[in-house]
């Protein structure tokens, strides 16, 4: 299940899509793609915006569907300090959210988007938070929940709990290539089957997703080959190349310390008579043909 099909089709009823990001790569662009795709499908989208202003979340969305988008202002007052928000983090409970959605005119199955779950987790007990999410999924008023979580701001255990609740987890990370990011999608179907996929993606200005080629296996990380390998024997004032005959002659040369077949046979079976010594006496040499040991009585 690629991230593109996830965005375009949404999840099945009762689904919870979690987008995980870190400081190195933000997931808000991907969140915007989900919102845009849901609006284009004609679904009612309710955004609980705690961390970003409405202008930022709505920038680039399709203008024709914007009336189906309901932005509940958490930001700029998510905790109620200045009494200017319509929905504070405290009210993140199933009864309040359900009421909020029922208060809008069409109470069709809606999509709930939370930006971000990190802020909610900072102010709610994790167990209560999980219970709220489960109640919202089973409540019937909400078709899909999409949440953004900053995974490097929480303990691993907490991140694990939220991932376990999710039917789809998409982790974004930077890629070697600066123009794209990597999205790792893990999807759990109702039958229990788990599908994983890793892709390059980028977010366009009109909040649509553009998915590029999938990265290879880890260990074969390939950077784009923009520059072809340079030939070192070109552009020189001397010749480093070989002609055909020269190459053949070079291959024929027997290397000095290579233990070849000929050398091996020569060492193992010496031909008879090859060890004969031939002595040519000089003029000054006193060469006596007699055997000096002749008078020994041995």
């Amino acid at each position: 299940m690629s991230v593109e099909s996830c965005v375009l089709q949404g999840a099945e009823a009762g689904g919870f899509i979690l987008i995980q990001d870190t400081v190195k790569c933000t997931g808000r662009g991907l969140l915007k793609c989900f919102i845009n795709a849901a609006l284009k499908r004609g679904e009612d989208v309710h955004v609980l915006g705690f961390e970003s202003p409405e202008t930022e979340v709505c920038a680039g969305l399709d203008r024709s569907c914007v009336q189906k988008l309901h932005f509940h202002k958490g930001f700029p007052d998510p905790l109620g300090w200045t009494r200017r928000s319509s929905f504070t983090v405290e009210r993140f409970a199933s009864q309040h959210i359900t009421q909020l959605i029922k208060d809008t005119q069409q109470a069709k199955a809606s999509v709930l988007v939370v930006d971000s779950l990190s802020l909610v987790l900072r102010h709610h007990d994790p167990l209560v938070f999980c219970q709220t999410l489960q109640e919202l999924r089973k409540g019937g008023v909400i078709k899909t929940i999409i949440g953004l979580l900053h995974s490097d701001l929480h303990q691993q255990g907490i991140v694990g709990i939220v991932c376990y609740l999710a039917s789809t987890v998409i982790s974004v990370a930077p890629a070697n290539n600066e123009r794209h990011s990597v999205a790792k999608t893990t999807r759990r179907t109702k039958s229990g089957k788990v599908m994983q996929e890793e892709e390059y993606f980028s977010v366009c200005k009109d909040a649509t997703l553009s998915v590029q080629a999938k990265p290879r296996q880890p260990g074969h990380v390939q950077k784009e080959r923009d520059v072809s390998e340079a030939d070192p024997t070109s552009n020189l004032t001397f010749n480093l190349r070989l002609s055909e005959e020269e190459r053949k002659a070079k291959e024929k040369v027997a290397l000095p310390f290579v233990f070849s077949q000929e050398k091996k046979s020569a060492l193992l079976k010496p031909t008879p008579g090859s060890g004969r010594i031939v002595y040519e006496p000089d003029d000054n040499d006193d060469f006596d043909e007699e055997d000096p040991d002749d008078d020994l009585d041995v």
């Binding site: 662009g29 930001f75 905790l79 930077p174 977010v203």
Partner: protein, 272 residues
């Protein structure tokens, strides 16, 4: 104010980006010279500055400011600079008899668990007051400077409370009033065993990086001490909402008596 830093960041007192949240952080180094730079920068630009000086006295900043060519005392008198002297005021807060003033700026000293709402209200009040100087001149966009935020961690304030405070400051200063924010955070060495960095300065720094537009991180040179290069500074241009195009560059710097010089790696004047 450091001219080389201005050209790296492509901003001058006459033209700079508004609604910017700049995070200055350091690890085993001292990045407070950057706070001095921004203080001089925004005072020269004619902005109304709210400075939360939690770790040094006013005279310290004033003395350094003199060397950079700005007079803090004058700015405070004119009403351009609102200075919260954390060290001096904290004694008064700790020794006072009644605890009724919960929304005082330094109320976190008595009840650190209650959060930083009081401090935020102080910032909001000083920024929303109409900038009427002696001559009735109006100041430029408001600017909040904090030196430094990580000291609150050692006073018992939780990371979550500090992140809430900066979120509110950003909402008011940057989104609503179109002003800027510069915050200094000092990080500790990352402990390899410490996986659950629940209440650490590193967690705070990560949370602030998520929120900011520009992150300047100062560290010593990875190769060790050098007389001519005092450290390296990493500039991370972040665009909120954009998945990619985050640009990071590293520069070397040397701090002088009256400023600091920045240069690309390997181009120190001692080397060339």
């Amino acid at each position: 104010m450091f001219p080389e830093l201005n050209s790296i960041l492509n901003s001058t007192p006459d033209s700079f980006k508004s609604s910017d949240f700049i995070l200055v952080s350091d690890r085993r180094a001292n990045a407070s010279f950057l706070i001095q730079h921004y203080l001089a920068f925004y005072l020269r630009a004619g902005c109304k500055v709210c400075f939360l000086g939690l770790v040094q006295s006013f005279s310290h900043y004033s003395a350094v400011g003199q060397r950079l060519g700005v007079s803090l005392a004058q700015a405070r008198e004119k009403g351009q600079l609102v200075f919260l002297e954390g060290l001096k005021d904290s004694i008064g807060v700790l020794l006072q008899e009644d605890t009724s003033h919960e929304t005082q700026p330094l109320s976190y000293l008595r009840s650190p668990g209650a959060g930083l709402e009081g401090l935020f209200r102080f910032v909001e009040r000083s920024m929303r007051q109409s900038g009427d100087g002696d001559a009735g001149e109006s100041w430029g966009p408001p600017v909040l400077l904090i030196d430094d935020l990580s000291v609150l961690l050692s006073l018992g304030v939780s990371v979550g409370a500090i992140l809430d405070f900066t979120l509110y400051c950003q909402a008011t200063m940057c989104s609503e009033l179109q002003g800027n924010m510069v915050i200094l955070v000092r990080c500790e060495e990352e402990d390899a065993d410490d996986d659950d960095d629940e209440e650490g300065s590193n967690l705070l720094q990560r949370g602030l990086v998520h929120q900011c537009n520009l992150a300047l991180h100062v560290e010593g040179l990875p190769t060790g001490y050098c007389r001519d290069i005092h450290g390296q500074m990493e500039v991370w241009w972040r665009q909120r909402g954009e998945t990619i195009y985050n640009q990071r560059k590293i520069f070397h710097f040397k701090v002088h008596d009256k400023g600091a010089s920045f240069f690309a790696r390997g181009t120190s004047s001692a080397v060339l």
